[in-house]
Structures are given as structure tokens and as C-alpha cells.
């Protein structure tokens, strides 16, 4: 009879399928760095995605006016994505905190309900069932269509895990995948819902209904590998239940539906033969069992068939043939025991962990199988079930993540060394140059300030001329020189006391006066025109002053940037270097502990299988003796 754990394994698979859906990027992405985080996440690079998004969210939260930031348009999605990325990167603690923050924030019901669902899922995965139910209880109001079935499926799984199968049945009977808008998501749940409903009915003691439900689950349409696997699983479980109940004929029908090349085919063939044998149909039992004995000899079902086949021949009174086949079984078990021993030695020598982290072995989905092809790798057939378990996968992923983190820390160490060198080189280059540059700058600065004072004075004078005209201020250099000469002449020709006036002097005075008149006339009549021109020139000078300011600012910025390019980094670099060194030490300890846990689990698995192989070998030896004995009696 299947137990809750077997069911839970499928529950976990169901969740994994749901988790595959990532937050979709909006069609009009406004924040490029959020887009970059998604770009990494879509490639499964969650470390890089988190690094980018953490930085973006940190900057956004630090802004005085976050609503003016481009991330503002995606803030809900970004907050959600952080939790999602953390979940994918197996950082449940932080993911839980991120999601709780959304749950407690001022978001609308649909967003909060999705957060509650995600939080419940984290608690469920960590076996915190009460907390999972509490999170589910927070779901109220609008529920996004895409997760409606997922929520109920999760609720039922929590009930199953907390030994409340009756509640689980009620919930699962309400879930009708395929009727929601999100067809593709719901469709993927159909098989799991049908199977889990059968298991819930069984655990609730409703055997008849459970059998009917598992019968339905075993005949669901679908060609997806997950659909086929859950269908096979349903048929296998149903066949086992019927077999245990003594209903061999129906058990055989159910087991016949298990695919011959699926993941449960070996167990299906073994059970099908057993159903026939239980009904004393040994010849018919031999059909599936003889298919089985030609398969991979490390498989549990194949090894059982190695004993079952001679047993069937013995039951058909073909003791000679039975004796030969028992003999083959003895040899096979012997070989397998040697293989298991060699695998244990290989794991103890550290080859298993080395094989697990080899990059070339992880290139495709079948990397576990490819491990066998690597030199010194242990026999992984015996570890298939162990390696498929959720706990082993978590331990393995942690081990691989730690290995990757170690590589990143080593890269960081190298980067820090390079940055330190850059800072030192910049210091060596700029430090001797700066005093000279600063001295030149100070000279230029003094000249600039002088020119600016002159311009200020000029501006003031122009402003005053608007109210009290001063034509002489707009005289050209030539005119100013002429005015000065005239003033001198006026002084000369006018200062002749006691001197008798002569005609020549009169003539000279008149000429000077005329010239003064000409100059004054010109200055007075051209005053407005000159004033306009002077304003235009001043405006032009303003543009030059602006350009001068721009260059001045650019210089100041460049000067500051130069200083900032090498001053003040030493404490930060030293601090980071210490953190990296400390993290490397911790990570080495963690890798060793995680690796030891994996190796211990693998060795324990192999030892358990070895015990069973030794037991089977004894049975086969007994079978050889017994069959020869019976053959001898018949001969007599």
C-alpha cells in the first residue's frame, strides 16, 4: 500500500512544475536594470539576477522621490521577483521575508493573495504545515486566475501531510483543472490532482472510491512525460492495492497499463508477474518476468525477477531449468555485490563528489546517468532512487551551489587584487602631477576672477547709463585719445594770461572748439546706436563667460574625479578582502560537511542494497540445492 511519503514525492514534483513559471516581463519594460535581472533569471542565473535586483531595489528605496525612478513602474513585480529568485536559488529564509513584506505592505488583494500562496508554499516545503495553513488562511478577496487551482492543490497537500485526508478529499474534489483561464498551468496539475485524490480517499479509508479514483487517474489522457509518469504511478499503486486485496485479475489489468518503457515499467512488470503467479498462472507470469531479467541487472525489480523466474519454473516442475537459472542468479548477485563494494570504496576515496561537480557531466539533463561513464565514478545505478529523492537533490544542489560560491569568492579575491593595483597605479601617476596642475589652475583662476570683476563693472556702468546717459563712456579708443588731446589743447590755448590776443590764437581757439563740437556731436548723435551695440557686445561676452564657467566646472569635476579615482578606497578594499577570506574559510567547512553528508547517505544506501543482495544470494543458493534435490527425486 502506498504511504503518504510516496504521495508527497509527487506533490513535490507538482510544485516543481508550478515553480517553473517565472514572472513575465512586461511588454513595455521601463527599467533596463530590472530587465537585466530578468535576463539572468530566465537563464537560471539566479545569483546574478539577485545581485542586480538587490542593487536596483536598494537604490530605489534610498531615493527621496522613488516615484520618479524608472523601477517605480515595476516595483510590485520587482518585489515579487526578489522572492521568486530567492526561492529558485533555494534561499527560503530570505524569500519568506521578502514575501511577508509584500503580504504586510499596501498592495492590492490579488498581489497579497499571490504572496500568501508563495509563503504557504515555502512553509509546506519546509514541513511547517501549521504555518502553511495560516498563510493560506490569509487569502481573501480577488485571487489571480493563474494560481487558483495551485492554491487549492497546495491546501489539499497540506491536509494530506497533516493526516487530514477527509479535508484533502473535499478540497481536491472542488479542483477542476482545465476549467480555469490559465489552461497550461491547470493542465499540468490534472494528473497530480487525480492521483492525490485517490491517495486521500485511500488514507480516509474509502477503499472502493479510492480504487475507482486511481483507476480514473491511470487512464487520464496526455502524452507529456509528467502525465505519463503519474498515470503509470497510479496504475502501479492501484495494481498493488488490488493485488494485496487478492483481486489478481483486476490487478493484472491495471498493471498491464503501466508503460513498458516508463520509469515504473520494471516495477509494473514484476507486479504483473506476481499477479499471475498468485493466480497460479506461472506460464503467464513468466512473460513479464522474462522481459524483466534481460534489463539492467542493478535494478531492484530485475534482481527480484532473477529469483522469481526460477521459482516459476520450479512451480511448473521444471526443476532442472530452475536449478540452472538459480545458478545464474547466484553469479549475478555475486557480481553485483562486488560492484557495490567497489562503489563504496570509490565513494570513500572521494570520487563521487568529484564526479558530481564535473562540469562536463552536468551539461545535459541526464548528467546523473553520464556520471557512470566517468573514470573512477561509483556505480550510480544503485544510487538512482537516492539521487532522485528531494532531500538528496537539496543536499546535492547545496553542494554544487557552495562549489559555485567558492569559485565566485576566488574570482572576487582576484578582482580585489586588480582593483588595489589600479588604485596604487593611479596614485603613483596622478600624485606627482597634481601640484603642477593646481598651481597653473590657481594662476588661471586669479586671471579669471579679474576679468569677471571687470565685466561686472562694465555691466554696472551700462545699467546706470540707461537712466543717466554718459556718451563719453561709449567713445572709441581713438575718440578718447582725441578728447584727451583736445583737452590739452584747450588748456594750452586758453591759458595765456596777460598775453595780447592775436588773430592766430583766435583761429586756434576756434579750431579747437570746432573739433570739440565735432567730437561731442558724434558722441551725442551716435549715442543710442552705440548703446545698443554695447549691449549686444556685453551679451556676447556673457556667452564667453558661460563657456568659461563650463570649462571651469569641467576642470573642477575632472580634478575631483582624479582624486576620487584613487583616494579613500584602501579601507573598503581591505574590508572586502577580510570578508572574502573569512567567507572562503567558512565555505570550505560547509563544503566538507555537505559533501560528507552526501557520501554518508550514498554509502548507507549502498550498504542497504548490499544486505539485500547477500540475502538474495543465499536464497538463490538455497534454490539451486532445492531444485537439484527436487530434480533428483523426480528422476528417481
Amino acid at each position: 500500500m502506498p504511504d503518504g511519503r510516496a504521495g508527497r514525492r509527487f506533490i513535490a514534483l507538482g510544485l516543481a512544475l508550478v515553480l517553473a513559471a517565472l514572472p513575465a516581463a512586461g511588454s513595455d519594460l521601463r527599467d533596463l536594470y530590472f530587465g537585466e535581472a530578468l535576463y539572468h533569471a530566465f537563464q537560471g542565473q539566479y545569483f546574478e539576477a539577485l545581485q542586480r535586483l538587490d542593487a536596483e531595489l536598494g537604490m530605489h528605496r534610498g531615493l527621496d522621490e522613488p516615484e520618479r525612478d524608472t523601477l517605480h513602474y515595476h516595483i510590485n513585480n520587482a518585489e515579487f521577483s526578489v522572492g521568486d529568485f530567492e526561492l529558485h536559488y533555494r534561499m527560503d529564509q530570505r524569500a519568506g521575508r521578502a514575501i511577508t513584506a509584500v503580504l504586510d505592505g499596501a498592495f492590492d488583494a490579488a498581489v497579497r493573495n499571490e504572496a500568501a500562496y508563495r509563503l504557504a508554499r515555502i512553509h509546506f516545503q519546509k514541513n511547517q504545515f501549521d504555518e502553511a495553513l495560516s498563510a493560506l488562511a490569509r487569502i481573501r478577496g480577488t485571487v489571480p486566475e493563474e494560481i487558483r487551482d495551485d492554491i487549492e492543490f497546495l491546501r489539499a497537500n497540506v491536509y494530506l501531510a497533516t493526516a487530514k485526508p477527509g479535508e484533502a478529499v473535499k478540497v481536491l474534489q472542488q479542483v477542476r483543472p482545465g476549467e480555469s483561464v490559465a489552461e497550461s498551468v491547470a493542465e499540468s496539475l490534472r494528473g497530480f490532482v487525480a492521483y492525490n485524490l485517490g491517495i486521500a480517499l485511500l488514507q480516509d479509508g474509502r477503499h472502493k472510491e479510492a480504487i475507482e479514483q486511481l483507476d480514473k487517474a491511470g487512464q487520464l489522457p496526455g502524452s507529456d512525460p509528467a502525465d505519463l509518469a503519474i498515470r503509470d504511478k497510479s496504475n502501479l499503486v492501484l495494481g498493488t492495492i488490488l493485488f494485496e486485496a487478492g483481486d489478481f485479475e483486476r490487478a493484472r489489468h491495471s498493471l498491464d497499463r503501466v508503460q513498458l518503457d516508463g520509469p515504473f515499467s520494471n516495477q509494473g512488470l514484476l507486479r504483473a508477474g506476481m499477479s499471475e503467479a498468485a493466480a497460479k498462472q506461472y506460464e503467464r507470469a513468466l512473460v513479464p518476468w522474462n522481459i524483466l531479467v534481460d534489463r539492467e541487472p542493478t535494478d531492484v525489480a530485475v534482481q527480484e525477477a532473477m529469483l522469481a523466474v526460477p521459482h516459476a519454473y520450479s512451480s511448473l516442475n521444471l526443476h532442472g531449468l530452475a536449478a540452472i537459472l538459480y545458478g545464474h542468479a547466484v553469479e549475478l548477485f555475486n557480481t553485483q555485490i562486488e560492484k557495490v563494494d567497489a562503489s563504496i570504496r570509490s565513494i570513500t576515496a572521494g570520487n563521487f563528489l568529484k564526479a558530481l561537480i564535473r562540469e562536463e557531466a552536468r551539461q545535459d539533463e541526464g548528467w546523473v546517468i553520464r556520471l557512470r561513464g566517468l573514470p573512477d565514478a561509483p556505480e550510480t545505478y544503485y544510487l538512482m532512487e537516492l539521487m532522485a529523492s528531494d532531500d538528496f537533490q537539496t543536499a546535492l544542489k547545496n553542494y554544487l551551489d557552495l562549489d559555485e560560491l567558492r569559485s565566485k569568492l576566488i574570482e572576487s579575491e582576484a578582482s580585489l587584487k586588480a582593483l588595489d593595483e589600479i588604485v596604487q597605479l593611479r596614485g603613483q601617476n596622478y600624485e606627482p602631477l597634481l601640484p603642477g596642475v593646481d598651481s597653473e589652475f590657481r594662476k588661471l583662476d586669479t586671471r579669471m576672477r579679474l576679468r569677471l570683476e571687470e565685466r561686472k563693472l562694465l555691466n554696472k556702468r551700462m545699467q546706470s547709463m540707461l537712466t543717466s546717459p554718459r556718451p563719453e563712456h561709449l567713445a572709441t579708443a581713438e575718440e578718447r585719445s582725441a578728447a584727451e588731446s583736445l583737452a590739452l589743447l584747450e588748456k594750452t590755448v586758453g591759458k595765456q594770461p596777460g598775453r595780447s590776443e592775436s588773430l592766430e590764437l583766435d583761429a586756434l581757439q576756434q579750431r579747437v572748439t570746432r573739433l570739440r563740437g565735432v567730437l561731442t556731436w558724434r558722441l551725442e548723435t551716435e549715442y543710442h546706436e552705440r548703446l545698443t551695440k554695447a549691449h549686444a557686445h556685453l551679451k556676447q561676452a556673457d556667452a564667453d563667460v558661460d563657456e568659461m564657467y563650463r570649462q571651469y566646472d569641467a576642470f573642477i569635476r575632472a580634478r575631483q574625479a582624479t582624486k576620487h579615482s584613487y583616494v579613500g578606497y584602501d579601507p573598503q578594499i581591505a574590508g572586502l578582502r577580510d570578508r572574502v577570506a573569512e567567507a572562503l574559510q567558512r565555505i570550505d567547512t560547509l563544503i566538507a560537511r555537505q559533501g560528507q553528508m552526501i557520501e554518508t547517505a550514498a554509502i548507507k544506501q549502498l550498504e542497504t542494497r548490499r544486505e539485500r543482495l547477500v540475502q538474495q544470494q543465499s536464497e538463490a543458493r538455497f534454490g539451486v540445492a532445492d531444485s537439484y534435490d527436487r530434480a533428483g527425486h523426480e528422476g528417481k
Binding site: T240, Q267, R579, I587
Partner: protein, 181 residues
């Protein structure tokens, strides 16, 4: 009689084996569950620490290598619902090749889903610069195409972000559209 006893034994043994197979991995780990939970939390703490180190290092690198006054970043995005197969993008700034990226299937898929790739980050002086984008790809039918476009970008004192949105020839949209931020 002997055969019946043996069959019964075989049946019960098989049930045990089936249960062993189903339960064993979980059982082995169940013994270590407490220890592994503590370890799992330590691994999570380690991840958080390394992320924090990486973030600080990244900020330091940005300050030292791409100061905000001269920083220029170029991003690549695909037009929505565009089915062209993007093979490669080359970027030249002021006639100098600064980036050449050949896309893997995974990267292309990430772009199609709406991700944005930061293809180049570097430094430019303030003022106008010429940005040339060269795009190689395949039509839906499988034939090759190549597009080239020249843009003028104006770098100011603040960091500059340029987004190039690429579209296939059959989409009707501009093959390379530029957005500045």
C-alpha cells in the same frame, strides 16, 4: 504446499523491497534531517553573505572603473513577439569595436521572454558620439540577414543608458530602434 509458502514469502519480500525502494532515500535523510536543516540554513546564510560581498564589490568596481560622470551602458532587447533568430550583435563607438556578442539559444530565449542584456559598459567623454550597431540573424525561414545602423548619442555629465531594440525584417518595425535614458 511448498510452492505456495514460497510464493507468499516472495510476495511479502517483494512488498518489503518495494517499500524499501519508495521509503529508503527519505529514511536515510530523515535521520540526518535535523543536522541537514541546520546545514541548509548555514548554506543560505553563506549565499546571502556572498551576495552582499558581490554587491559591494560590484559597486566598488563601478566607482573605480565606470565613474558616473563618464559611464555609458548599452542594452539589447528584442521587439515584442518577434520571432527572428538573433545570431550576433557588434557595437562600434566612434569607429572602435567595443562589443561583439554571439547569442546562445538560452540567451535568445531570455531575450524573447522580455529580458534585457547589458552588452556593453564603458566610459565616454561628454559630448556627441557615433554608435554603430551591426546585427546578424536569421529569418523565420532560415535565411541569413544583416542590418547596420548609425546613431548619434549625446553624453552628458550623468550616466548614460542606451537601449537598442532589435526587430526582424518581417516584423514591420524598425530593425534597430534606439532609446536613450
Amino acid at each position: 504446499m511448498g510452492a505456495r509458502v514460497r510464493l507468499k514469502r516472495l510476495t511479502s519480500l517483494n512488498t518489503i523491497v518495494l517499500l524499501i525502494v519508495v521509503l529508503m532515500p527519505a529514511a536515510i535523510f530523515a535521520q540526518k534531517e535535523k543536522a541537514s536543516q541546520g546545514l541548509d540554513e548555514q548554506v543560505q546564510d553563506m549565499k546571502a553573505d556572498v551576495l552582499s560581498i558581490a554587491a559591494e564589490l560590484s559597486r566598488l568596481e563601478e566607482k573605480l572603473l565606470y565613474p558616473s560622470g563618464t559611464q555609458v551602458a548599452v542594452f539589447i532587447a528584442l521587439a515584442k513577439d518577434d520571432h527572428m533568430r538573433l545570431d550576433a550583435v557588434r557595437l562600434q563607438i566612434d569607429g572602435k569595436l567595443v562589443a561583439h556578442h554571439i547569442y546562445s539559444a538560452k540567451e535568445l530565449e531570455a531575450l524573447r521572454k522580455g529580458g534585457v542584456q547589458r552588452i556593453y559598459v564603458g566610459n565616454l567623454a561628454t559630448g556627441e558620439h557615433q554608435l554603430e550597431a551591426l546585427v546578424d540573424g536569421k529569418h523565420e525561414g532560415g535565411s541569413d540577414f544583416s542590418r547596420k545602423q548609425l546613431f548619434t548619442i549625446r553624453k552628458e555629465v550623468k550616466p548614460k543608458q542606451v537601449e537598442l531594440t532589435l526587430a526582424g525584417p518581417s516584423s514591420g518595425a524598425a530593425p534597430i530602434a534606439m532609446g536613450e535614458f
